[in-house]
């Protein structure tokens, strides 16, 4: 007896949750069905109904409501047909679905009052649904799109159910116009607006709680805002009169107002435990059903977040938990085989981090099986086999979030039919959150959900600029950097574009003051900066630095939209400060695009993938002949300005002490016999390169710009040592210098020749095929290899390379990865597939270096996978490979 009682009380919380959730789902269905009839093509509506039914089914399964389960299962099948467009939506279908929702309502009401499903007969409706599904009744699209005959419009098989249901339930389906109700027990339901709750059930499921419309809370927040202003004015006023009584009253008002403000803000906050608690039961039940042993650990139940957000994360979390139990964790036998303890661990952790709430769901199960995921994605036509080969680990993991993806091999009762993960992502992103997955095959999977604390109030950093305040949402703030004294020089400037090197990453810099003055590039001001506050911001993947005058404070701000000025993209809205002033909220994304900062890295990657061309950034500079010269930016380590007296001489060679090294300086003017760089100037610009583990300094006349070009070297001007060729950048002709040649000379002077004389003899009759679409790198590779004494053939892309292989004898293929027509991976595959070239060694070069690409490369038979501009490594690898081959 006692057992049953305690079991029941344990259940009652869950039952309440179930009822709340199911009624909500049901009202969604009832609301959407008529809409679906009007616009049957609207996939959004179909999907919403489908998801609602799906959730309902899931909940019914856990609590073992057999009738509901049967009903929802049938309805889900039907909806799936509609989703797949195998079934036309005709009034019959809608009628059936409506009678389904009526019946569900009836059963739910019965559960609410008696905790059992009652005596309702579900068979008729189930039969009706199944009949439609298998095409017994109109609705099945028999290859023609003819509209159903009017006669068929007289439908309604389930009149037995509908009227009864109407009486008890049907009225409740309508939300509008419901008068505010007083529950029998005296609880008050305020508000009748947006929340799609169905009023009647509240009296029984929520006794001690007042349900308040969120709109009302918003309004209260506004009123409190006004009160705050009023208070401020009164305090100001009170200081004018030295009246103790007035002062006392004013400070009292002050206290009360602040308290009220905090309270109203916190009314919206709720502990996440309310949602997490029910998972214990769900996991336990699921584990029993599937014969798994699972230990669930929940941490951080007390973590609070905004009510609306709590609601929004509930479903996604449930999905993730179900997935972890169903797909992630293995059965005890399987676990034992792979050397794990029989009991699987599922841990849920919620915590505050950086103004956001993070929920981690971690299992120690089998992890994501990438092979399977790829195959599935290819099978479902989500990706092409082509692109599958190029995907990184993370990209593969992310595939599970695509609509229509489900890894479960058979559809089980518990988890979805592919509804799950895409819904999770959509729902989380809708509320401004992020969901990430990381996984180690065989060791488990971790899902990380990050959502803002609240939508209305966001933590922000207040910054000052010319006596005005601005707020920046903390979400996008990565870090703060203060540059003072010596460190000021770390801010580099190239023609008005400023950069800062943050732990090796080049971060573009914009100045808030310039933006506010409408200036897109930085003009050196007369007054040198004393100190610089840089906010490093992340705007949708674009990281950049924003220089501001002063950093004030962090504060929770209430975001108000800028209705009239919404076309100004650099602002995300405005807020009212404690003293009643209005402060603008800056939008990092807007600022980035206003300042025309480079696209995020991902975007750039997309560009290179689709166009498969080498966009190369060139640093432009001038020499004494006033011509524009260029050097690939990737080779440049730093830009410096040096003074005459810093330069020292070793013999006739100029050197500079630089970062504990003796750095040789090369005067490019002298190199090209133009003249001598004037060292008597205040500052001489210097390009610092770091190659072959040495620093080199190139003295130039003037650094002028950075440009991005597709690197079409037009023609070689003339054979001049150290010059690679020329290309057009816009209107200008740029002479691209051959950095390696120049440095070679410098090294040769030191009698440290890179050319291994012994090797030259051996290499004489070896032929290397260079496959490279970028003329610059092609030229570079050819020069390097010829310098080593190899015979070199060159091809522009994979197709050309294959043609050459058929005609010429080649000992090694050195290929770029990203190329038009046939890329490096494709080429490798074709080569390996050809018996003749079985033993032909291949080396891959790339400008986009990632571990997963490397792994892919190894798999495809590349001997080595190297970065393009690491010449030393390339030479070593070629030598090594060819020696081994001979």
């Amino acid at each position: 007896m006692g057992y049953i009682l305690s079991q029941e009380s344990a259940n009652s919380g869950l039952l309440k949750e179930f009822l709340l959730e199911s009624f909500e789902g049901l009202s969604t269905i009832t609301e959407l069905l008529p809409k679906l009839e009007k616009s049957p093509q609207d996939e959004e509506i179909i999907n919403s109904i489908y998801r609602a039914v799906h959730t309902l089914k899931g909940a019914a399964c856990f609590l073992h409501f057999a009738k509901l389960q049967e009903l929802t299962h049938a309805a889900e099948n039907l909806l799936e047909l509609i989703k797949k467009k195998k079934l036309m939506i005709v009034p019959d279908v809608i009628d059936t679905l409506l009678s389904f929702s009526d019946l569900v309502g009836l059963i739910l009401s019965s559960i609410e009052s008696t905790s059992s499903e009652g005596a309702s007969n579900v068979e008729d409706v189930v039969k009706r649904i199944n009949d439609i599904a298998i095409g017994k009744i109109s609705g099945v699209d028999s290859s023609s799109t003819h509209a159903p005959e009017p006669a068929e419009r007289e439908p309604v098989v389930n009149h037995e159910v509908s009227p009864a249901a109407q009486k008890e339930w049907g009225v409740q389906g309508q939300d509008d116009g419901m008068p505010e109700k007083f529950g029998e027990d005296g609880s008050i339901q305020a508000g009748s607006g947006d929340q799609s709750d169905t009023p009647d059930r509240k009296k029984s499921v929520s006794d001690s709680v007042v349900r308040v419309n969120v709109n009302l809370l918003d309004k209260m927040m506004n009123v409190v805002g006004e009160l705050v202003l009023n208070r401020n004015q009164i305090i100001q006023f009170a200081t004018k009169f030295d009246n103790p009584e007035l002062n006392r009253l004013a400070s009292q008002l002050n206290l009360i107002t602040s308290e009220l403000q905090t309270d109203i803000m916190t009314t919206r906050m709720q502990p996440i435990g309310a949602v997490l608690n029910k998972f214990e039961r769900i996991v336990r039940d699921m584990a029993r059903e599937s014969g798994k042993r699972i230990n669930i650990r929940i941490e951080g139940k007390e973590t609070e977040l905004d009510k609306t957000l709590l609601e929004a994360v509930k479903d996604p979390l449930t999905h993730l938990i179900r997935n972890a139990v169903d797909h992630g964790l293995e059965t005890p036998d399987q676990r034992e085989k792979s050397g794990k303890s029989k009991e699987g661990l599922l841990s849920i952790r919620a915590y505050h981090e950086g103004g956001q709430v993070t929920v981690e769901i971690q299992d120690d199960g089998r992890g994501l099986q990438r092979e399977k995921i790829l195959n599935k994605a290819i099978k479902n036509n989500l990706i092409s086999a082509e692109s599958a080969r190029q995907m990184s680990e993370k990209q593969i993991n992310d595939l599970i979030f695509l609509p229509g993806f489900s890894t479960a091999e058979k559809v089980t009762n518990l988890s979805g039919r592919g509804v799950g993960m895409d819904v999770v992502r959509t729902n989380i992103e809708r509320i401004g959150g992020v969901v990430d997955v990381s996984s180690k095959e065989g060791h488990g999977t971790t899902f990380k959900l990050r959502v803002p604390l609240t939508l209305a109030i966001v933590p922000a950093l207040l910054i000052g600029d010319d006596n005005e305040y601005f707020a920046i949402p903390q979400v996008s703030l990565v870090e703060l950097v203060l540059l003072e004294g010596e460190r000021l020089s770390e801010l580099e400037s190239i023609q008005g574009a400023e950069f800062f090197r943050l732990r090796g990453e080049l971060v573009p810099i914009v100045r808030l003051r310039n933006i506010l003055n409408g200036v897109r590039t930085h003009v050196n001001s007369e007054i040198p900066d004393q100190s610089l506050n840089i906010l490093v911001l992340n705007a949708d993947g674009r990281v950049f630095g924003l220089i501001v005058d002063a950093i004030e404070d962090t504060q929770e701000i209430v975001v108000k939209p800028l209705k009239l000025l919404k076309s100004l993209s650099i602002y995300a809205g405005a807020t009212i400060m404690g003293d009643g002033r209005v402060a603008l909220i800056l939008d990092p994304t807007g600022i980035a695009s206003w300042s025309q900062l480079a696209q995020s890295k991902e975007d750039v990657e997309v560009v290179t993938e689709t166009q498969a061309q080498d966009y190369q950034e060139l640093l432009l500079f001038r020499l004494l002949d006033r011509c524009v010269y260029g050097i690939p930016l990737c080779l440049i380590n730093r830009l410096e300005e040096i003074k005459r007296d810093q330069i020292e001489y070793v013999g006739r060679r100029m050197v500079l002490r630089y970062r504990g090294h003796v750095m040789p300086l090369i005067d490019l003017n002298e190199k090209f016999h133009i003249g001598k760089t004037n060292l008597e100037r205040d500052r001489v610009p210097l390009l610092v390169l770091y190659l072959n583990h040495h620093y080199f300094g190139l003295l130039v006349d003037e650094i002028s710009d950075i440009t991005s070009s597709e690197m079409e070297i037009q023609a070689l001007v003339k054979e001049q040592e150290g010059i690679m060729g020329s290309l057009f950048v816009g209107e200008r002709t740029v002479t691209v210098i051959d950095t390696f040649k120049i440095i070679d000379c410098c090294e040769a002077d030191d009698s440290k020749s890179v050319i291994d004389k012994d090797l030259v003899v051996k290499a004489k009759n070896k032929v290397v095929l260079v496959v490279e679409d970028s003329p610059l790198f092609r030229k570079m590779s050819i020069d390097v290899l010829e310098g080593q004494g190899y015979g070199v053939l060159a091809a522009h892309d994979g197709e050309e390379a294959l043609a050459m292989l058929n005609q010429e004898k080649v000992d090694l293929v050195l290929t770029d990865v990203e190329m038009p027509k046939l890329d490096g991976f494709g080429l490798a595959k074709s080569i390996k597939d050809d018996k003749r070239f079985e033993k032909l060694p291949m080396i891959a070069l790339t400008s986009r270096y990632s571990e997963s690409d490397r792994a892919m490369g190894k798999k495809l038979g590349f001997v080595d996978y190297l970065e393009k501009f690491k010449r030393e490594e390339i030479v070593a690898s070629v030598n090594r490979t060819l020696l081994k081959a001979s």
């Binding site: 009123v223 805002g225 202003l229 933006i515 506010l516 108000k560 800028l562 009239l564 000025l565 002033r581």
Partner: protein
Amino acid sequence: MGLEAHQTEGLSKGTETRQYCGFTIGKDLFAVPVLEVQEVIKPQMITKVPLSKEGVCGLINLRGQIVTAVSLRTLLGLPASKNVEFMNVIARVGDSLVALVVDQIRDVINVTMDSYEPTPDTLVSPLRDYVSGVHKTDGRLLIVLDLDKIVKYFDT
């Protein structure tokens, strides 16, 4: 019949009165329908909005609501006023509020529709762009502003 209908229409149109909130900018008398005006307030602390269009004075805090203040002088191509005692006419446009910064506030003006004329051809841009019509009142023209057009200008 056609004539009769026309006459009745003319009659009702003629006697129908309209209430306007009147204000001056420079020498001219302007008006917006009184129903669109929420209140008239004194100069407020204003937050400038960098990069906004010419004519946007900034944002003011009206009891917790953020209202965009618009200088009608700038909008109508007049030089900025030296008068510091300007007034803000808070008007509702759709679901947002806009504060019209004007020189001087006048009474509520009652006019009948028979004094109404569409915008005269002699009115030129930029004034013409924001006017919906004029009323011929005693001795002086009442220029009726079209708030939607003003808002649209700032919205795009």
